[in-house]
Amino acid sequence: MIERLVNLTWILVGAAAATLSWRIGLTGPYGPDSGLFPFVAGLFVAAGGVALMLARSHATADLEWPDFAGWTRILGVIGALAFMALAIPYLGFAIASLVTMIILLRTVEPGSWLSTLVLAVVSVAATLALFVGLLDLQLPRGPLGF
């Protein structure tokens, strides 16, 4: 099912890209214009999608998706990263990454709260020391000034 959806995505993305490139223009005064390369690539992607749809031999044989607990963990990781990207501008790097670390550590096989907190604080502090202290990288600051 998911495999067919992916194939469909190729067809749609490829066709859309080819159409857009067609509008940009394929050839200019000296040969290929901005549209040619993406047009050809788009056609290939779409054609590949069609072929994959038809040719059953290319379908993945022993496909196994995770169980419920597996999905929770995967979504936990994705959610944590999305939270971090969203929160950095508002909370600053230090706080956002601390919260993210806690989410990550709690999602996957929770240990004790104490060990989670210690690990989160230590790893964030180490990251900050490494990048900000040693490498002088400016990471976004939060409302509290760090």
Partner: protein, 503 residues
């Protein structure tokens, strides 16, 4: 022997306690930065550039150069241990390196990677010592038509290394080309597929894609089945390469060194292309190509040698002509300029102390790196004993900071995440993602060079046959494609399914 006396001068300059210490420091920092996922040599050099202001010119450049090649040494570490490339040039190292680690042979893989890097690094400095001016002249002749031919050859080589369904591999190549087109078209300045977004006008960031597609997706695959005591490898067999490993690796290392050096010389080459082509070559010449992707040590030795030799190669146009071919060498050049020194064709005559000092430091640096890295192998292998539930959040955090640090743009984090999720789904469906990456890297240069070629040529595409280097490269590509078609046909005739070399 002008080179010998020059080298003598160089060692005279470099063998001071201060310079040696800075070279050692650079090697160490470079290794660490290579090991950290996400932060590549370019971002690291940009961050550390201000430190060199207060140093004498030679010391500053020696340190920066050491960071550059040190990062190439370290880049393989996380690829082998965690299946997570430290930088784009070690994506191919993941293939067989990680499989070796899973079989408990992480030590052998790391050892071969370090020694391969040393051999390649040293050989390329030897070539640099004796042939810098000649090779510099040769590299500069590499105009748009030659670039077109080289990029085509690179793409053809990629076809060889597709694992799994060939059709899926082709879709990945096409998609790589397509996504590389997002952003501002350098030839016309038009925006393509940006949908009005300023973040997209700069195109998708290579590093964010590498970390997402290979790193985040790997973590997602792993957390599926993680438990409290999950370790990446339960058993660790031997820390060092065996006699058989040596025998199998020597020829790939030498081939990788030569290939990497030549590709490093030319603007379109560089470590990424070098490592991919080297892998394809090793697979092609191997007696039993089916071992590749299942822990073949040649698949680690060749590409790791190639990406280090490419560093040496890329120093040639900078040192002999003052022309940087890659962003990293441009930065090294900048470090010299900020000190009031502008390398150019006369650099060698005007400042022999600097030129030969830098060359000599590269010999010394490679030795330092070997000494540093071999004992580290034991330490890194211990990393596999850390429970995965503790290891992966830290790796994720480092990936996020590394990805952000390159452009200071939060949008790159979203790119990383999106490619991480897509990478997870695609890997589940057994797509080979490496061809995507190499197509993404090669496509913009191929497009630009092709269009430049067509503009500057009065006879259209036929210019390719009039320029010897381009013609030879194109011929090789045709032969390779012909061989592949023949192989495909014969397997079909004998009744085999066309994907024999697959996992």
């Amino acid at each position: 022997m002008e080179a010998m006396s020059g080298l003598f001068t160089g060692f005279g300059v470099i063998l001071t306690p201060e310079n040696l210490l800075l070279c050692l420091a650079g090697s160490f920092v470079g290794t660490m930065i290579g090991v950290l996922p996400g932060i590549g040599p370019l971002a690291a050099l940009a961050l550390l550039l201000p430190i060199t202001f207060s140093l004498p010119p030679i010391a500053g450049v020696v340190m920066l150069a050491a960071i550059f090649y040190g990062a190439m040494y370290g880049g393989s570490t996380t690829s082998i241990l965690l299946n997570l490339p430290g930088e784009a040039a070690s994506v191919v190292t993941c293939r067989d390196g990680y499989q070796m680690a899973k079989q408990g042979r992480a030590g052998a893989a790391l050892g071969i990677a370090a020694i391969g890097s040393f051999i390649a690094g040293t050989l390329s400095v030897v070539a640099l010592t004796f042939f810098a001016p000649i090779l510099g002249e040769w590299a500069i002749r590499f105009g748009p038509p030659e670039n077109v031919a080289l990029m085509l050859l690179g793409l053809v080589c990629t076809l060889y290394m597709i694992t799994g369904s060939a059709l899926k591999g082709l879709v990945m190549i096409a998609l790589g080309v397509l996504l590389a087109m997002v952003g501002t078209d350098v030839v016309t300045g038009n925006e393509r597929f940006t949908f009005g977004s300023i973040d997209l006008s700069g195109g998708l960031d290579l590093l964010a894609i590498v970390i997402g597609l290979f790193g985040i997706s790997e973590i997602l695959l792993n957390v599926e089945t993680i438990s409290k005591s999950t370790l990446l490898a339960d058993k660790i067999r031997g820390l060092f390469p065996t006699r058989e490993d040596w025998k199998a690796s020597l020829a790939p290392m030498l081939r990788g060194s030569g290939l990497g050096f030549l590709l490093g010389l030319v603007p379109g080459g560089g470590p990424i292309t070098a490592s991919f082509i080297s892998y394809a070559v090793e697979q092609r010449v191997a007696k039993d190509p089916s071992r590749f992707g299942k822990g073949a040590i040649e698949g680690v030795a060749g590409p790791e040698a190639a990406n280090n030799a490419a560093v040496g190669g890329s120093m040639i146009p900078v040192l002999s002509l003052g022309i940087p071919g890659t962003p990293v060498t441009a930065l090294l050049l900048g470090a010299l300029v900020i000190q009031g020194i502008q390398p150019g064709p006369l650099f060698m005559q005007q400042r022999p102390d600097l030129f030969w000092g830098i060359v000599a430091s590269m010999y010394v640096g490679n030795v330092f790196l070997l000494i540093l890295n071999l004992p580290l192998v034991g330490l890194w292998v211990q990393l596999l004993r850390v429970p995965y539930r503790v290891l992966f959040p830290i790796v994720l955090m480092l990936s996020v900071v590394g990805t952000y640090s390159a452009n200071k743009n939060l949008f790159d984090l979203w790119v990383m995440l999106a490619f991480g999720v897509s990478g997870y789904v695609l890997r589940k469906l057994q797509y080979d993602l490496a061809p995507f990456l190499i197509a993404f890297v090669l496509a913009p240069l191929l497009e630009q060079s092709l269009r430049q070629t067509l503009v500057m040529s009065p006879d259209g595409i036929m210019i390719m046959t009039q320029r010897p280097i381009a013609a030879v490269l194109i011929a090789i590509s045709f032969v390779l494609v012909a061989l592949m078609i023949r192989r495909g046909l014969t397997t079909r005739k004998t009744g085999g399914i066309p994907h024999e070399a697959h996992v």
